[in-house]
Structures are given as structure tokens and as C-alpha cells.
Amino acid sequence: MIEFINDLLMFMGHHKNYWLIPILLVLSIVGGLIVLTEGSVVAPFIYTLF
């Protein structure tokens, strides 16, 4: 997860596409939720949610 956030920040720094910050922030939180709950019992709910 930390690596992903790091990649995202470097991507922003390199391509300077600041329009995407709010979208990436929200989608990363949602995606992060899926990844963090992966393999757990709540995964079917989170995973199928999206």
C-alpha cells in the first residue's frame, strides 16, 4: 500500500496532472479498502461492492 501511494505521488510529480488528485484520492481509498480486506471474511461484501 505504501509503495502504491509512493508510486502515485511520483506519478503526480512527474506528469503534473493535478486534475486527477481528488479522483485518485477517492478511488485509492476505495481500492485500498478492497486490498486491505482481501482474504478476510468481509471481503465478499467489499469485493462484490465494486
Partner: protein, 725 residues
Amino acid sequence: MTRILGLSAYYHDSAAALLEDGELVAAAQEERFTRQKHEARFPAAAARYCLAGTSLDEVDYVVFYDKPLLKFERMLETHLAYAPNGFNRFRQAMPVWLKEKLWLKKMLRQELSQLSGGDAIPRLLFTQHHQAHAGSAFYCSPFQQSAVLCIDGVGEWATTSAWSGTPDNLKPLWQIDFPHSIGLLYSAFTYYCGFSVNSGEYKLMGLAPYGKPRFVELIKSELISIDPDGTYALNLDYFDYCVGERMISEKFRALFGAPERLPETEITSLYRDLAASIQAITEEVVVKLASSLRRETGHTNLCLAGGVALNCVANGVLRRTGMFEHIWVQPAAGDAGCAIGAAFNVWHEHLGNPKSDTGQDRMKGCLLGPAYDNSIIESELIKAGAKYQKMETQHLLRSTASMLANGNIVGWYQGRMEFGPRALGARSILADARNPNMQQTLNLRIKFRESFRPFAPAVLREHLAKYFVSDQNSPYMMFVDYLVPELRLTPDSKRDGLDRVNEVRSALPGITHLDYSARVQTVGQDDKDPFYQLLLAFQQQTGCAVLINTSFNVRGEPIVQSPLDALRCFHATEMDALVIGSFILHKKDQTTLSIPELQIPAPVMTNAALKKFSRSLAILLSGFALTVVWVNQLPISPWLVLPFLVLFIWGEIIPGHMRAIHRGWHQLGVGLARITSPVIFSLVFFFIITPLGLIQRLVRRSKIHREYKPDRRSTTSNPGFEYPF
């Protein structure tokens, strides 16, 4: 020794390729192993094959063929440019990104970890998609200096890209960005004419000679503007592929006055003429782009890659212009070839090794896949109850040539499997091209495909000039050539449209397309190559140095990989004989042949995962029960936790019993998601993306150029192989 494993995956045509000290030693497409055409999943079986005898910790780099964050950026920018339109597409596409593609590094590491059996995994690198295409073209070519042109549907942003290759460098020159794409334009017509996008483009190309290009001017005035330098822009009002669920818009249908053709229905003159028209336009764009590159780079060689480079008719037109001294097309020009290109990019560009001059291409005749020796083949034949004869090589070649000369259709399975979409004499179905009924017989009885589709000839290189006009090498079937006038016949019938398929138009009717063209494979002299030896034996027996060579598969299936695949295909069709290794099987003798049905294993939850599920479900439910008790101030009883304790222990002892509970639990999640998922995505789309998109368009900062104007050249910034962007 430096080993590099190149991977393409997760979109279509997954593949793996292995380089050892800059030499391509193995490559294979995943579809051949999973038996799912255009397989998109991680190429585990292909990678396992490439690594045979090598453990993953002996590999120095694994390189993926595109930059996922750039692709994600393009997708979001497209939605910003079109919002509030495109919500359905957003809802369909986003889950895959949120669950998988956004976490590509993690996913790749998990897959690689399974391959390595838990050992350390190599460093993970990324190339841009068109960089991988360009690498697959230039680094595999026999040239030291060359212009490189890549044209496909879309990569991250690029749909067309131009490069200059020298021994020390593959330099990007310019590119045309999404949504303007000649590849997607061709696919839009493929869809409109009733064929599948991504696999039906060959059919449209084969259909083109049956039509008249009467729509060229209309398409050029309405759909695409082509500049003199070959760069182009599409009029996006006619297309729906940006954020819609189809390739074309209502305006496109109105322009041609008909709905899209339904698959398997009659192909009327409208669709035939459209095929001819879009083919002519593609050829014009390819020739103009190549001409610009010739002028701008000064190179006298040209390399081609990308899906559009599989359009061998356009390649043939380009070659006949003579503007380049030599043209080399990557035989696996589609996305599978990117696995090879990405690996070469790392070897030459990341590690700084210059391209050495061997004078030959580095694809090894595309024979990069698995081979099976006679002992394995024989054990499969015995298991299947096949009746077969084992022969020494010369006897086998003479017998096969004789069968072909007598009008038999022969499955030919020898040596290493080809990489790429073409069968080149290792996994082929062969027949006599002189037989006037052969095209129809092969299409309808063996391949079960459309009758108008032509077959390719394999011809002995030393006899090429006797049959074809160009007299140039084409070992990978990447160029269309024309039959010499002496062999052509003029049919005297008054047939029209697709009925003309049965006309005899030459002394080699089995490979002669309507316009006397053929997608030629030249087979050079090589005494160790069984396919060369067979052609030679056939030529000595019949005086004809040409055979029909079509891929060893039936419609909808990948080319056969293993001996069992070959037996299964032989059994399911009306092929007369199968020549596999040193063995010959005659169909008429196979009274006891019994091949097991192809089983595609469904993903199954492991016991460990089921145990984990039962544990966490027990904890979750007991926590929930205790919360209810606490909130409602109910009396606490030790019996309360008993059901959850039973669930916990049950899962530990017999985890298989948890499968049904897991299924039910999952279904509950699916049911709830039907309500919650649209709500969540609506909030994101209409409250974040839409207002941002409207502001972006208001201040003219959109990266998606929807307007219809010339000068489409752009450049891209690439921070390096370490980054997924």
C-alpha cells in the same frame, strides 16, 4: 548470465518470453496452454515453460509490457472529457481497476511468488506499451539502423508511434494519442461488418477483395482526416468507443444507412464494400506514415509492429512502393510480441547493451515454444488408443508428400511450437494448393470457418519467382504477394459477391484470393527443418513447390500446443492424417481412438483459504452477537458463543464443508452490491468526475482532444523502467 523475463498480460494475448544474455531462448502465449483464445490472465503456464530448468531466483529482471498508471490516467481523463456521459462504462470498467489493475505490482509479485514457490522474486520493471512494440520490432530485426513504426488500437496514450533505431538507442520521435486511432477505426468497421473486435480484423481484411472501395471519399470526408504526412484525426461524433458500450455511434449507422450486420448473417455488398474501403484507407495511412518516417529519419530500413502491422495486405502495398530497401515486420506484432519487446528493451536500454550485428533476425523462425520428443508423443498415442506407424525421417517425408499429392489433408506437428498468430510449419494443417476444391473443403470440413477466407501458401524460397511476383523473402507470412500472370486464370462465370469464392482463378486455386493475392510464407533451405524437407519431397514428387499452410486449430480455438491437443483436433475434424513427430496416423484406421474431453479447471478455494474464512466468520459473527447483547443489555450466557465455536472448530477439521457457506456468504455480498455499488459509483462519477470534467473543459485543459483538427503529433515523457508510469 543475465536473464530477463518479459510478460504481457491482463488485457488480451498474455505471453511470456525469456532472454539469456540478450538471446531470445523461449517465448509462448498463455492461450496455448489454457486453451482459451486470446487468454488475458497472468501467463503462469507460459512463464513456467520459459523457465523450464531455471528457477525464478536465477532471473535478474521481470518486465511488464505497459505502464498501468498511465493507462489509468488515460481512462480517467477520457471520463473527465465526456462526463456526465459514460457512467455505465465507468461502472463497468472501474471495479477491475480497483480490484486488480491498480495493484498490478502486488498482483504480479503474488503470481511470481507462486511461480517461484515462495523464493525471492526478481526486480520488477515496466516499459511503455508502444516502447515494447517498438522493441519487439527493432531489436528482433536484422537491422542496425532502422525507422520503426508502431500502429495498434491503443496502448497507454499512443495509438501510433514513430521511432528511430540505432545500435545504441531506440529513440521515440513522435506519436498520435488516443482517442485518434487507425487501429480502433479498423476495429469499428470490423464490428459494424459483424465480426468480433480484436479477432475479426483478419476476416475484414480477407473480405475486402470481394467489395469495391466506393466509400473511401465518404469516410475521408466524414470519419477521418488524413494529413499529407499520414497523421490523422478521427471525427469522434461517429464513434462510441471512448466512454460508450459500443464501437460506433448512431451517426455512424445513419451515415451508411444500415444497422451493424449481425454475426453469421448474409454479408451484403454494403459490408463488402465497406471492408474494401477501410482497407484502402488503412493502406493509405500506413504508406503515408512510412513515407514521412523515411523522409524524417533518412533510414533505408523500416520495422513494423502493433496490431495493424498484422495487416499483411497493407504491408505488401508498402513493400511494393519500394520506399524502403528492407522492411521487417515483427511476426507477433500484436500484444503477445510485447513480452519479447519489453525484455529486449531492458537488455538494450536499461542495461545499456548495444545491438549486435548478426545479419539475421533474432526470432529463430518463431520456433520458440515447447517441443515434445517421440517418447512423449508415443505414450500419448498409446494412451489415446491410436493406431499409428513409426517411420524413419525420409520415409515419413515421402509418405506425407504422397498423401498430400493424393488430395489428403494432413495435420503436421513437428518440433518447437511457433510464437505469434501464424502457424509456420510446426503446428500446421497442410494440403495441396493445386486442388480446386481444397479451399472450400478446408474451410467447411476442417476449420469450420467462413468460406471466403483464403489460405496461405508455403513455398520453397528457391522456387518463389516461379509463383509470385515480388521474389522477396517472407518467412513469417507478413506480406501479401501476387501470383505471376502466367499462373492466373480468368474465370468465365458470371457469379457475383461471395459466390465467386469457388471460382478457379489460377493453377493454385487453394491459395489464390479473389484478386490473385496470397499471404506467402517463404521456406528457406535448411536441411534440419522438417517443413523444408517436406516441401522439397512434395516438389520432387509433383513438380509443385507450394503447399497450403493453415494453422492447426479449429475456429474459436487456439493453435494446438501439446500432442494431446493435436490428437483432439485431429479427432474432431475430417483431417485425413496426422503426422506427429515420427508417427503417422490415418483417420480411416482410428476406430479405437478415444480422447478425453478438454477440461478447463474452475478456480477452487484452497483448504487454507476456507479455514481462514471459517475462523474470521466465527469471530465476526460472535463479535456481532456480543455487540447485540451489550447494546440491548441482555444477560450474557456462555452458550451464546457455542455456535461460533462450533463453526470455528468445524472449519479447522473439515474445511471443505465451508465451501457451501462461503458460496452463500458471497451471494449475499453480490445481492447487497446490486444496490450499493451503483450508489457508490454514482457519487464518485456525478459528484467528483463530472464537475471536475466540466471545469477542465471550461478552462481547456483536457488531455483528450475531441476536436477534429490536423497536426496530431505529440511526445511522451518516460521516467524509466523502474516506474509504473
